[in-house]
């Protein structure tokens, strides 16, 4: 069955995994804006207010992104896997969807913990 070494690796992995979550998944709270990063272009940051759709150009073609009701999503993308589109609506700070083949990442930004509220 499983050797001693197998068990050690398994238990170490299980033990260390929560720290990954704690490090990169700190609940940043409610969403306030979204950052669109496309390789080779400067980032665009938009507030999550209002409803709009826009196109981002990538090496494979155009990805369409939609903001509606405080949420954001990939509407369409020229990649094969369509995982970015399947990620669906992003609503909480820290959430993100990425179209790796097209080099585009959409990440939701939340409140900065240093401040109690942000004016803009």
């Amino acid at each position: 069955m499983m050797t001693r070494a197998d068990w050690i690796v398994l238990i170490l992995t299980v033990a260390l995994l929560p720290s990954l979550y704690m490090r990169y998944w700190g609940d940043e709270g409610p969403a306030t804006s979204v950052r669109i990063s496309a390789s080779g272009q400067p980032d665009i940051t938009l507030p999550l207010t209002g409803n709009r759709r826009f196109t981002v150009h990538g090496p494979l073609g155009d990805s369409v992104i939609e903001i509606r009701d405080g949420r954001v999503r990939f509407v369409s993308s020229p990649c094969r896997g369509q995982q970015c589109v399947h990620s669906g609506w992003l609503a909480r700070a820290g959430e993100l969807a990425a179209c790796l083949p097209n080099g585009i990442m959409v990440s939701v930004l939340g409140r900065d913990r240093r401040y109690d509220s942000i004016n803009f």
Binding site: A5, D6, L10, T13, L20, Y24, Q83, L100, S107
Partner: protein, 175 residues
């Protein structure tokens, strides 16, 4: 003058193992996956079986050929997807090499499978980070990806375990 390519027994093994791995890989690539890079990695079962039965050399060939030929067949050769798969394959081969140096009883199929899966996923992630999307935000995906690697690594390890048991039973009964 006749040029013949003398194929060894190892070549034959590599060939049919690779063919098996590619078949599983292609079948799996037809499945949708929720996040980039998350695939059950069932083709890895073939790699680990090769490692345990025939040694690291065979396993390495199978892993690399699978990525290469698989991408040619699916049509993703030299694409970003290909680069990610290649990075993953190289990392898991390296991890298996190092793991195989462990003295004593060493690792079993589950251990190898888990290590290979973790190395594979980590390499894919960092390749995506350095080459395609150098943004800190991408790290938000890392815990999920590594959890998936843990689950699929252990699962394929157990499948490998079963496969090996069957193979050995078949060998015994063939004696």
């Amino acid at each position: 003058m006749n040029l013949t390519v003398a194929t060894t027994r190892q070549d034959h093994r590599i060939a049919w193992l690779t063919a098996l791995a590619i078949t599983i890989h292609i079948a799996e690539s037809a499945l949708p996956s929720p996040l980039p890079g998350i695939k059950p990695g069932l083709a890895n079962v073939v790699t680990i079986v090769a490692l345990i039965q025939y040694g690291w050399g065979t396993a390495a060939w199978v892993a690399l050929l699978r990525v290469l030929i698989g991408s040619l067949l699916i049509g993703t050769f030299l694409s970003p997807t290909f680069l990610l798969s290649l990075a993953g394959a190289l990392a898991s081969i390296a991890a298996l090499r190092i793991a195989s140096w462990l003295p004593g009883r060493g690792f079993g199929p589950v251990g190898y499978s888990l290590l290979a899966a973790l190395a594979h996923m980590a390499a894919q992630f960092f390749t995506a980070y350095w080459v395609f999307i150098p943004h800190a935000g991408l790290f938000h995906l890392l815990p999920v990806l590594m959890t998936a690697a843990l689950i699929f690594g252990v699962t394929s390890g157990m499948i490998t375990q079963l496969a090996l048991q069957r193979l050995r039973a078949a060998e015994v009964s063939a004696l």
